[in-house]
């Protein structure tokens, strides 16, 4: 196989990690919303935790994105 084609395929595979991050972020915000609708008074206090979870979930996907970019341009 051509090395250039292999690089493109590798970058594409590395980008799959972003799908996992999407699932995780959707899970966090969806659960936050359902919890917040059940108990709206407690929702504001958990916003810090919400964004903390968002940051953790996003970081794993971004590592995949960084790998894809390093394969393509590094």
């Amino acid at each position: 196989m051509d090395i250039e084609a292999a690089r493109m395929i590798g970058a594409g595979i590395a980008a799959i990690a972003l799908g996992g991050a999407g699932v995780g972020i959707g899970h966090i915000f969806g659960n936050y919303l359902s919890g917040a609708l059940r108990n709206p008074t407690a929702a504001a206090g958990q916003r810090g935790t919400l964004f903390l979870g968002f940051a953790f979930a996003e970081a794993t996907g971004l590592i995949g994105f960084a790998v894809a970019m390093l394969i393509l341009f590094g």
């Binding site: 964004f51 903390l52 940051a55 996003e58 971004l62 994105f65 960084a66 390093l70 341009f73």
Partner: protein, 262 residues
């Protein structure tokens, strides 16, 4: 991160224009270039663009905290300084309790430096200090070694109880203890990679989409431009969030060192 020699060759390959790579070159922005060359023997102490922006970040934070007026009714500048202080102080109190006050200056310094470096990096053309793993790894190792030393000073060899969680059946201990030890030593790496990957990926994404704007031209270029504005807003959120997460995890690791018994 890529070393400077790799960046130079990468830049030349991009400049040679190998079909489409000339417009999108997201790695180039992370290149370290010496501004004032200082060489002592074999030691290279040059002031680089990375060092310059780190100094700017430190100067900006110092200016904000020192020059903000101390009035009873805060001015705008003063309320910026006070709300940052409040945020970190509240977090330190919540996680570490009253014992944590001694560590508050350290945690606040870390938070303020990372926040300033992240936000300064978002200025177009600026260099993002925290997008290099060597910078974040140095910060994370400082936290890790510091917390370990504090733990051994406070508890002596009792600090090793951290690796033996209470309430685990003895039969499971041969499996649990190695896992605990590995997860302890992986901390500085997860802490540094989280910050560096977020910063690097964010800036690469901005550069790639900015490349789309140029490639699509006047007719369709405004579509990725809209996306660029939205992602820039997300990056502002991420810059603040990652500084907060770094400070929070520092608090949690120090909490393990201070209260090992529970």
């Amino acid at each position: 991160m890529a070393t400077s020699t790799e960046n130079v060759t990468g830049g030349e390959a991009g400049g040679a224009g190998s079909e489409g790579h000339s417009v999108i070159d997201p790695i180039h922005q992370f290149e370290i270039t010496p501004l004032i060359p200082i060489k002592i023997g074999d030691l290279d102490l040059s002031l680089t663009n990375s060092g310059l922006w780190a100094l700017i970040a430190v100067a900006l934070v110092s200016l904000l905290m020192l020059a903000a007026p101390q009035k009873l009714v805060p001015t705008r500048l003063q309320s910026v300084a006070e709300s940052l202080y409040d945020l970190v102080f509240g977090m330190t109190e919540e996680v570490l309790g009253p014992q944590g006050r001694a560590y508050f200056p350290f945690i606040f310094t870390l938070f303020a430096f990372i926040l300033a470096a992240n936000l300064l990096g978002l200025i177009p053309g600026a260099f993002t200090v925290t997008s290099h793993i060597i910078v974040t790894l140095a910060l994370a190792l400082m936290v890790f070694i510091g917390a370990t030393v504090v733990g051994f000073i406070k508890h002596g060899t009792g600090y090793l109880k951290l690796f033996v969680p209470a309430g685990v059946p003895p039969a499971l201990l041969p499996f649990v203890v190695p896992i605990e030890i590995i997860s302890y030593f992986i901390r500085p790496f997860s802490l540094s990679i989280r910050l560096f990957a977020n910063m690097m990926a964010g800036h690469m994404m901005l550069k790639v989409i900015a490349g789309f704007v140029i490639m699509l031209g006047v007719l369709a270029g405004w579509l990725p431009l809209l996306a660029l504005v939205a992602i820039y807003a997300l990056e502002l959120l991420v810059a603040v969030l990652q500084a907060y997460v770094f400070a929070l995890l520092t608090c949690l690791y120090l909490n393990d060192a201070l209260h090992v018994d529970h």
